[in-house]
């Protein structure tokens, strides 16, 4: 039987993985919740966010604070890209069959991956941890890297910030109303079209931010877009598509099931996560905190 400090450390490592996933999946979930669009290209926004952060650091250098400007610049650029995509292309597909939206966003995936290959080539890229967060501290008898600690704190902060935005501001009320009844909101004089653009930009921003923030701990490689979208889908399916806290819960469960699943069945690392997803789909097809569509 492993000792308690090891189990705590293992739980913490699962939580770190979970917070990254939450950052990325929250944008996916938000866009689906309001626009009812399953944005397959969300993983591409994540990947482009990572490449852009790399590019900005390359231009700006790795001096103190530079990394954070690069992260912010990358996330904002992705938000603008998302805004353009929604404004110019995606909006023509609202009200059409969902298959069209899925095919369209899948088309974006292919375009983005080819564009990234043209711009940055096929070799893996990497960034160092930002100055100030390069070290580690000993917690529960194991090392906790400071950058992981930062992510562990950032995840809940962003979750709380988003929750406040959605539940405590007028903009949030309108966004939630748009998710429930778009026509009624339009009749009340709200410019729903721009609201959709805004939400899509916010969702894209979160995807780009997630991508930019993983650069110090992950390689930037072609194919990272498709890898992450699968994981993000699992998270939102477990938590409930469109449900904000569901996404958070889904990510935390994903991380913990992965961390402890590999202790129990080391030969099938991903098995436990998929098994959990299957169970959730059978028992609550709309996810743990989601709501059945059409109610």
């Amino acid at each position: 039987m492993p000792d308690l400090s090891f189990l705590l450390a293992q739980s913490l490592s699962g939580l770190t993985a979970a917070m990254f996933l939450f950052l990325i999946a929250s944008g996916l979930s938000l866009i689906f919740g309001v626009l009812r669009v399953l944005n397959f290209a969300h993983g591409s926004f994540y990947m482009l966010g990572a490449y852009l952060a790399f590019q900005f650091v390359l231009w700006g250098g790795m001096g103190p604070g530079r990394f954070w400007w690069a992260v912010l610049g990358a996330a904002l650029t992705i938000a603008i890209v998302g805004g353009l995509v929604e404004r110019l292309l995606l909006r023509h597909l609202y009200g059409k069959d969902e298959l069209y939206q899925l095919l369209f966003t899948y088309g974006l995936v292919l375009i983005a991956s080819d564009a990234a290959k043209k711009a940055w080539g096929t070799q893996q890229l990497s960034l160092s941890r930002p100055p100030g967060l390069t070290g580690s501290s000993r917690v529960f008898g194991t090392m906790l890297p400071h950058y992981n600690l930062f992510i562990l704190l950032l995840g809940p902060t962003i979750a709380l910030g988003l929750w406040l935005l959605l539940n405590r501001t007028r903009a949030g009320r309108v966004i939630r109303a748009a998710a429930l009844d778009r026509e009624m909101l339009g009749a009340l004089g709200v410019n729903v079209s721009w609201l959709y653009t805004g939400v899509f930009m916010l969702g894209s921003f979160l995807g780009g931010l997630g991508g930019a923030l993983v650069t110090p701990v992950r390689a930037i490689v072609p194919g990272m877009d498709v890898e992450i979208i699968v994981e993000a889908f699992i998270v939102v399916v477990i938590g409930g598509l469109g449900s904000f806290w569901g996404t958070f819960l889904g990510a935390v469960i994903y991380g913990q099931v992965l961390a402890f699943g590999i202790l129990i069945v080391p030969a099938f690392s991903i098995f436990s996560v998929f098994a959990l997803m299957a169970v959730v789909l059978i028992v609550r097809p709309w996810g743990l905190l989601g709501q059945p569509l059409g109610t």
Partner: protein, 396 residues
């Protein structure tokens, strides 16, 4: 009318002016390779190496007086797509030979196509033993890559010299990762019977967060680690493992195969590389075994316009070189004859003498191994020194 004949004359004159440039019907070589997604990291430079070789050969008059045409197709890292493009290359483009594929899924799949169409197929990168296993072997398939048995055993030969007893392994959970880990484990147990495998981690291929795996591994208190995470996966793993203290905990007794010691990976990571561990690579621009290799590295550097040219290009290069030498030996482009000529063929490659063994159509290809040490002059890790492990003495 006059103008047209003038044009013809001019063209003819131009053709004559290109002195040694090969004329005659082209020899077509289909080159199915990954050019998109994660595997493009290997596919692209391998393609460049093949292209450089073809340009050099054509400039020197071609083979049998005929130029070679390389027809490249993207397999997208997918076995079904690889089979589709291989069929298309054979049926539509009428290629005479196939050289290519990257993954251990694509290689065996394209091998079946080569067998059906009786066309020589040389695999420059896939490592799985399955490709040339007795039940899968046929007269037309050959491999110039190291296979998983060679790579696993070479790593075990290195680790056997270390003073370690409890080894943990980590590798991606698919054919390559499993095969090479199994080869390593069985060989190290044979070389050092006292060794114990205390932990085996199997993250999925494409895993982006190794933290839980690293933590679980450290919980088993190994004193050495074997990793076969390749390309960007090793970069991710090492970046996450370093601040967790894994490398210090095992006193840098880590061997990372899957070309984790390649100049590409070292350059990408710069000062984040876990200096002091052991890595392997197919080639290295700073390795100087012979004047021929130095010359090759310089040509490649010029061709790629890169002062630190790729270590993967050599695989496409030697793949094409074997094919061309076999065509010369056979004096024909008939696949039947070329396949026979390839059996037991020994050629001088930039990395030295290589033989395609008659018994299993496998080249006696080893790899470079060395302790990864920071070279301050270039700002990234190099093997100090790079040692080529010749596998012929421990190949089955």
């Amino acid at each position: 009318m006059l103008r047209r004949s003038l044009l013809v004359t001019l063209t003819a004159a131009l053709a004559l002016l290109l002195p040694s440039y090969a004329r005659g019907e082209k020899i077509k070589v289909g080159f199915p390779i990954i050019l998109s997604g994660g595997g493009a990291l290997f596919g692209e430079p391998a393609m460049k190496g093949a292209q450089m070789y073809v340009e050099e050969i054509n400039a020197a008059g071609g083979v049998l007086g005929r130029p070679i045409e390389l027809i490249v197709r993207d397999t997208k890292g997918n076995a079904d797509e690889a089979v589709r493009v291989a069929r298309e290359l054979i049926l539509k483009d009428n290629v005479d030979f196939l050289v290519g594929t990257v993954t251990s899924a694509e290689g065996p799949a394209v091998s079946v196509v080569a067998k059906e169409n009786k066309i020589v197929f040389i695999a420059p990168i896939p490592k799985t033993d399955q490709l040339t296993a007795p039940e899968k072997l046929h007269p037309y398939v050959f491999r110039v890559a190291a296979n998983t048995t060679v790579e696993g055993r070479s790593a075990a030969e290195v680790v056997a010299k270390w003073n370690v007893k409890q080894i943990a392994t980590i590798g991606p959970d698919y054919a390559y990762g499993q095969d090479v880990t199994r080869a390593f484990v069985s060989w190290i147990k044979k070389l050092k019977p006292g060794v114990e495998i205390v932990d085996q981690e199997w993250p999925k291929l494409g895993e982006a967060d190794y933290t839980p795996f690293i933590n679980a591994m450290m919980g088993k208190k190994p004193d050495a680690v074997f990793s076969c995470l390749w390309g960007g996966f090793f970069v991710t793993f090492a970046k996450q493992a370093k601040p967790l203290g894994l490398f210090e905990a095992v006193k840098l007794n880590v061997i990372a195969v899957g070309e984790a010691g390649s100049p590409e990976t070292a350059k990408t990571m710069g000062s984040d590389y876990p200096f002091g561990i052991w890595g392997n690579s197919y080639d290295a621009f700073y390795w100087h075994p012979s004047p021929a290799h130095r010359d090759y590295a310089e040509r490649l550097s010029k061709y790629l316009k890169d002062p630190y040219p790729s270590s993967w290009a050599i695989q496409g290069y030697t793949g094409m070189q074997f094919l061309v030498e076999a065509i010369k030996k056979a004096g024909s482009t008939d696949s039947e004859k070329v396949a026979k000529a390839l059996l037991g063929l020994t050629i001088d490659t930039p990395i030295g003498r290589q033989t395609l063994r008659e018994k299993d159509h496998q080249a006696d290809r080893g790899q470079l191994y060395g302790k990864m040490t920071l070279d301050p002059a270039i700002g990234f890790a190099v093997m100090k020194p790079p040692t080529y492990i010749d596998p012929s003495r421990f190949m089955d």
